[in-house]
């Protein structure tokens, strides 16, 4: 799969705080690429550099297939931070202005307003919009002119569950049309449902990058519980069948490659421990993310 964006060793500091410490990765063309990380990991800084809001201290990036960064940005639809429009102008007038800046999409204004369910409010001033409506107008602005690339920072921010589902479906349908989506989000469950590739950042360092299935490693884990949870935890700790154990409300274990769920069940019975809950789970991106970023 060819790349649409190549990032090489980007560094960025804010005085003494080093936000990015030499981040490099490539975004495949046609992917839905998630940029994940806890607060302060450098996600927004990275997206800001890609969109020329911030200047990197060193390193470079290239939008592949475009003669220069300026031309590339006219083909990128972006949603960064809060929706930024003129409060005294209507939704439609704001999008018309955006289309003139992008030099494309003027004929698209009504279509994108319909796409985000704001067509009936097209003549209302931006200042009268709720947070969700503002977010949807920002998404409409990003969609003007059918961009090749979408760069989204927390696209579901401020949306209700129905809105979140609509955005998820929208991203999927846009990706099916061939649009590359680069998305920063804290909603890991959503990212796992939507993204094909992911990069995980922590404190300005890239921890992992690649297809979602590779990063989450397809590991399985077992959820266990017994009436005496502590006894069960003691029996499983330092157990040769168990690779790792995490005790929370339920006990989560990852089995050794040669172990099976039946083997664990049998072992517990032999120890006189009666399990009241045993469930196999696929390792989610969230659990992998939490493990990598703790």
């Amino acid at each position: 799969m060819s790349s649409i964006l190549s990032i090489e060793n980007i560094k960025k500091s804010y005085h003494v705080v080093q936000a990015l410490k030499g981040v490099s990765f490539e975004v495949p063309k046609g992917s839905v690429f998630g940029v994940l990380g806890p607060n302060g990991s450098g996600k927004t800084t990275l997206l800001g550099i890609l969109l020329d809001l911030l200047k990197a201290d060193s390193g470079q990036f290239e939008w592949i297939g475009y003669p220069n960064d300026f031309t590339a940005r006219k083909n990128i639809g972006s949603l960064l931070e809060t929706p930024n429009f003129y409060h005294y102008m209507t939704a439609k007038d704001n999008l018309i202005l955006t289309a003139h800046i992008k030099e494309r999409g003027l004929e698209d204004v009504d279509r994108v307003l319909q796409q985000v369910n704001l067509y009936e409010r097209r003549d209302s001033k931006f200042s009268t919009f709720s947070l969700g409506m503002k977010q949807r107008l920002a998404i409409a602005g990003a969609l003007l002119g059918k961009p090749d690339i979408l760069v989204l920072d927390e696209p579901t921010n401020g949306l209700d569950p129905v809105g979140i589902s609509e955005i998820r479906d929208l991203i999927r349908s846009l990706n099916q049309e061939g649009i590359t989506v680069i998305m920063a989000s804290h909603l890991l469950d959503e990212v796992e449902k939507v993204c094909t590739h992911v990069a995980i950042l922590k404190q300005g360092v890239l921890l992992s990058s690649g297809p979602v299935s590779h990063v989450s490693n397809d590991e399985e884990w077992i959820e266990l519980s017994a009436s005496n949870k502590q006894t069960l935890a003691n029996a499983l700790t330092n157990n040769p069948l168990v690779k790792s154990i995490r005790v929370e409300e339920l006990i989560h274990i990852v089995l050794q490659p040669n172990a099976s769920i039946e083997g664990i069940n049998t072992y517990c019975m032999q120890q006189g421990i009666v399990l009241n809950h045993i469930q196999k789970r696929k390792r989610s991106l969230e659990s992998k993310f939490m493990e990598m970023t703790k």
Partner: protein, 260 residues
């Protein structure tokens, strides 16, 4: 022109723009009407130092002086226009949408230039009409004041833009502009008085202010002072143009190098 069109799209439905432009134009014309008809006087009783001031060729200079007081309306709008971009964060959004950073600055520069041209046209038209109504001498004499009015306006509005690009808040920028006007007046007089020179008149806003004097006040000053504090016109023009260039390069550097 594309950049100017983008600025126009922002202005055409902005109430504050139409209000300030209307106030500028309306009150400027009314004020001159009042002076022309002696409703407004300079002097007491039957004495009016402004009488016959709106006939050719003196109308150009006298109305130029009156005009200089009204540019503040336009300067306030320039401040609001620039500050809005930071308040609404649309300065960032324009760049995100693909506008080059320098084009963002040039858009505002073109707005300032257009306002300066428009205001100068209003002044020129008004002065010519009042001059025709009152007759007098040669209408071409002193007509170079039109250029001085344009340069004065451009300098004033560009300075206001410079302040608001750095301060980013409209209220604080307006206060700072007014404070600077007072501060500069003090500095000008201190320099001229203590060093018995005209160099104080070459301060940023004073340089072009010198191009639009009130002749009757200059005459009074000449009668009462033994030292001339008048700066040569060519120096005022040179410094005025120079300052505008400095503002531009300061802002250009800021736009190209700093994080938004």
């Amino acid at each position: 022109m594309k950049l100017l069109h983008i600025e126009w799209l922002k202005l055409r439905k902005y109430r504050a723009f139409w209000l300030l432009v209307s106030l500028f134009s309306g009150i400027f014309l009314l004020w001159n009407y009042a002076i022309n008809n002696s409703f407004l006087k300079l002097g007491g009783g039957p004495v009016n130092l402004l009488s016959n001031s709106y006939s050719f060729p003196s109308v150009w200079i006298n109305m130029g002086y009156i005009y200089s007081w009204f540019v503040l309306f336009l300067a306030v709008f320039v401040i609001i226009s620039v500050s809005n971009e930071f308040t609404f964060r649309t300065n960032r959004q324009h760049i995100i949408d693909g506008m080059r950073r320098i084009d963002f600055l040039h858009g505002k520069a073109l707005l300032v230039l257009s306002m300066a041209i428009g205001a100068t046209l209003l002044y020129s038209f008004s002065a010519f009409i009042f001059g025709l109504l009152n007759g007098g001498g040669n209408p071409i004499q002193n007509m170079e004041t039109i250029v001085y009015v344009f340069l004065y306006t451009l300098n004033y509005l560009a300075f206001a833009g410079l302040i608001s690009f750095f301060i980013k808040k409209s209220g604080l920028s307006i206060i700072l502009l007014l404070a600077y006007l007072l501060f500069e007046t003090i500095i000008v007089n201190v320099i001229n008085h203590y060093f018995e020179t005209f160099v104080g008149n070459l301060m940023p806003l004073q340089s072009t202010d010198e191009l639009l004097p009130l002749p009757v006040m200059k005459s009074l000053s000449a009668m009462t002072s033994s030292v001339s504090h008048d700066s040569p016109i060519y120096l005022s023009i040179l410094f005025g143009v120079g300052y505008i260039a400095i503002y531009y390069f300061i802002l250009r550097n800021k736009m190209l190098k700093t994080d938004l």
